[in-house]
């Protein structure tokens, strides 16, 4: 199974709140889990990534939590700001003979209200 399930589809939070986006996968061969941020009219930009041997990774206000046994991972945005309003994609990838086979979630549209 190559699917990556992402929820919620959309999310509205107040400034300063902590939006949480969840993803689940089936294929245990995945060995790299990136998150991408996309603004309207732009390409997805790599935000933060984690490997399955780590349970948590923080970069600035962004944190990935990873639960290998449950095959789930999530993105938390601390002290969210209106500038964080964007669409967020989780992904899972594995090495496939050199190239990275990446499976993307369907995206979460986040709106942070001032």
């Amino acid at each position: 199974q190559q699917q990556v399930k992402q929820s919620p589809q959309s999310l509205i939070v107040q400034k300063g709140g902590i939006p949480i986006i969840n993803c689940a996968y089936e294929n245990t061969a995945f060995d790299y889990f990136p998150w991408y941020q996309q603004f309207p009219g732009k390409g997805p930009a790599l935000l933060i990534a984690i490997r399955p041997d780590v349970s948590e990774k923080k970069e600035g206000r962004f944190t990935i939590s990873f639960n290998k046994s449950a095959k789930q991972f999530s993105l938390h945005i601390m002290d969210s700001q209106p500038g964080d309003s964007a669409t967020y994609f989780c992904a899972a990838s594995r090495d496939s003979g050199g190239y990275q086979k990446v499976t993307f979630g369907t995206g979460t549209k986040l709106q942070v209200i001032p």
Binding site: Q6, Y32, P34, Y36, G41, K42, G43, P44, A45, L46, A49, F89, S93, D95, G98, Y99, Q100, K101, V102, F104, G105, T106, G107
Partner: protein, 112 residues
Amino acid sequence: DAGITQSPRHKVTETGTPVTLRCHQTENHRYMYWYRQDPGHGLRLIHYSYGVKDTDKGEVSDGYSVSRSKTEDFLLTLESATSSQTSVYFCAIQGTTTYEQYFGPGTRLTVT
């Protein structure tokens, strides 16, 4: 932006016409990818390349072909465009020392 440009950025074409989209990179990366992005589907891989003249199919390759005659250029061709190919197309490169993929700015294609 990882030195990736895409052209054109917007295109409107009629059903049945051929269309070629171009991806250009300036950093000599070996692996290049073409994705399409559609609401409710995320990004789906069309084709990828692992070197000059070396390409392979992704999960949604029907109706598309690619070519890579130079390291820096990866072309995506719709031989006979259909309305179902209306989408936003993104090119990506794979970092040389990491697993990350970096995306270009995209091409919005409308097939009428």
